[in-house]
Amino acid sequence: MRSSDEGTGTVVSGAVRKYANVPGGLLPLLHEIQAELGFIPADCVKVIASGMGLSRAEVHGVISFYHDFHDQPKGQTTIHVCRAEACQAMGSRSLEAHVKARLGIEYGGTTTDGRYSLEPVYCLGNCACSPSVRIGDDVYARVDADRFDELLDSI
């Protein structure tokens, strides 16, 4: 999708109008665009910058600083595997290896059919029932290789 596309333009200009006068509005604006479009197209930066009274460098700087924002489309569903210590203590290192092998992608990758993207996450706050995996907005506890396969097959 490109910002010259009518839909994209509407989303971006709508978000800019909504947040132009909101103090510190850039983060919620970027969240909204990404929620609508699935990513933040690079050629929206100029429109966002002029609408928010910022330089393009500032807008690009914010997009690139935060792990959540991306300027390329992702898979339909993002799978986050927790890499933090509590999950490590319960075998997340082997779970990570299994997930990568099962999906055939590394962190930051998207499956060739476009269904899944894989991202690391450093803590889902579900640390008493590790290892944790987030699929879309749902968190799953005590996930081992078998449980992960079961979850994936049920989607």
Partner: protein
């Protein structure tokens, strides 16, 4: 009509609570039973979730952990009445793990419907604000100071002093910023509070606003907590409708508005100045201090930045008095500590106890040892920047000073247990790797030192120039410790050094070329 309580917090749902609720609805329908399901929050006994409760003879009885496949069997045995069943645990007070806690902050968690303002009020909610509205700002700040409350986010700075600074700094606009960017591994207390008893945060922020003269508040919530976001959005709207937020709160002539800002997956934004930058819509780069946020904080205005649990604790201080709160605790650590027992643990969850309990008591008596059944070997306390403690340190009382004395820190109260299969070299390497991933990039020691740290630990693992690599790693740790602007770079050496100091055998790899050890 029978009331059935099934938690809807993240962890309970991650363990199948939604499926249990669905199955309970279905079974009740099939059997023509008149029930109401209330989606409460967890009581924090995550090892018993999904914990289903029923109301009978004016009491509540717990069943758990309930698997969706066991629901039909429960109904066959007489559920939702009180029935003999292997999953029946009795009343919450009968569960020793819960009964042994002192729940000042988490007393309502699991008890109430998190979205119900009436439930909150009927269980002591808004008593603190009611008292605060009859007090002068200086009196409120005085109560918080007298309580001995210190920042629960990890830095343990005296809350009263922070508030007094903001109160005494004249400005046309002041802010309250709640730090809900709970990124430390092994911590979930903020999330549990926001999902199980969210009005407490709203009330705490409002009391703070009354104390320091703020009219605008922000909750900086991490994006990893979508359920907490939903809950907070709802309760803020309800509080506004009830005139507990907004203009002229409860007829006091005072205004206070709360806005939620969602983070975007940057651990560093839990650092208070980085969080302020992020709230302003910028990259989360750490600021120099001074100026303190209490003097020049959000948008350059005086700002109280407090952790969720600190603001929550304030409601107890104002409702029951500073002396009541101060009566709990040990040494200069007053009140209760919300320990989050996590990692390889049999009975994990939220344990609120007065400061001063030992790690051994928590891990062995509450936790029941490891989930794997193997011996505990190392315990990391205080998140990814906290030390790994060996068995010789497990009797250290959990208070801020005692932990500092042994080269560790309590932080936000996260306790992550590892069994004897842990490779401490891998854990030390991860600490550096995590710093490299999450560094904001402002300071060279943190940005580049962390990358060099990973490389050096890899060299040690391969037995390359081992003694020189160790020496260099120690120098690097010293540079990070002394030369970083914030705790991210400054504390990353803590897990690394503690791993080397207490678990040296894990760094004695004899494979490789057999060069210098």
């Amino acid at each position: 009509m029978v009331k059935i309580f099934i938690p809807a917090d993240t962890t309970s749902c991650a363990l199948g609570a939604d499926a249990v609720a669905k199955e309970v609805t279905l079974q009740a329908q099939n059997r023509g039973l008149d029930i109401t399901i209330i989606r409460n929050g967890s009581r924090g006994a995550f090892w018993l979730e999904p914990l289903v409760e029923i109301e009978a003879d004016g009491n509540r009885y717990c069943y758990g952990p309930v698997n969706p496949s066991e629901v039909a069997g429960l109904f066959d045995a007489g559920f939702p009445g009180l029935c003999e069943h292997a999953l029946l645990l009795g009343q919450a007070a009968d569960i020793d793990w819960l009964a042994r806690q002192d729940r000042l902050t988490f007393g309502r968690a699991g008890l109430i419907d998190p979205l119900s303002l009436d439930d909150y009020k009927q269980n002591g909610g808004y008593e603190g604000l009611n008292n605060a509205l009859d007090m002068s700002p200086a009196e409120i700040v005085g109560a918080v100071t007298d309580s001995g409350l210190r920042g629960r986010g990890g830095a343990a700075f005296p809350t009263g002093i922070k508030w007094r600074t903001v109160l005494n700094t004249p400005a046309d606009q002041k802010y309250v910023a709640a730090n809900a960017d709970e990124g430390d591994s092994g911590t979930f207390a903020d999330r549990l509070l926001m999902e199980a008893d969210p009005y407490q945060l709203i009330e705490g922020m409002t009391i703070c606003a009354m104390a320091v003269g703020a009219t605008e508040g922000y909750i900086y919530l991490r994006s990893e907590y979508p359920k907490a976001l939903q809950v907070l959005n709802q309760v803020i709207a309800t509080a506004e409708d009830a005139n507990l937020l907004g203009k002229n709160i409860c007829g006091s002539g005072r205004d206070f508005h709360i806005h939620i800002r969602v983070g975007a997956g940057a651990y560093i934004c839990g650092e208070e100045t980085s969080m302020l930058e992020s709230l302003e819509g910028k990259r989360g780069l750490v600021r120099f201090k001074p100026p303190l946020p209490a003097i020049e904080g959000l948008f350059g205005k005086p700002t109280v930045v407090n952790n969720v649990l600190t603001l929550a604790a304030v409601t107890t201080v104002l409702a029951k008095g500073a002396a009541y709160y101060k009566d709990y605790g040990s040494g200069r650590s007053r009140g209760t500590l919300s320990v989050q027992l996590a990692g390889n643990i049999r009975r994990g969850g939220l344990i609120e106890v007065p400061f001063g309990a030992s790690l051994r008591e928590l891990v062995e008596e509450f936790g029941g040892g490891t989930a794997s059944g193997r011996p505990v070997r190392a315990i990391q306390v205080g998140g990814p920047l906290g030390a790994y403690l060996p068995e010789s340190q497990w009797d250290t009382p959990m208070d801020y000073e005692a932990f500092t004395e042994v080269g560790a820190m309590l932080g936000h109260g996260g306790v992550v247990v590892f069994d004897d299969s842990v490779d401490m070299l891998a854990q030390a390497r991860f600490a550096m790797e995590f710093c490299a991933v999450e560094s904001c990039g402002k300071c060279t020691p943190c940005r580049i030192g962390s990358v060099r740290g990973v490389e050096l630990i890899d060299k040690i693992a391969k037995n390359e120039n081992k003694s020189a690599s160790f020496e260099l790693l120690e120098e690097l740790c010293e540079t990070l410790d002394q030369g970083s602007l914030c705790a991210m770079g400054g504390l990353t050496p803590m897990p690394v050094r503690s791993a080397i100091r207490h678990f040296p055998q894990d760094f004695e790899v004899s494979s490789g070329s057999g060069v210098e050890r």
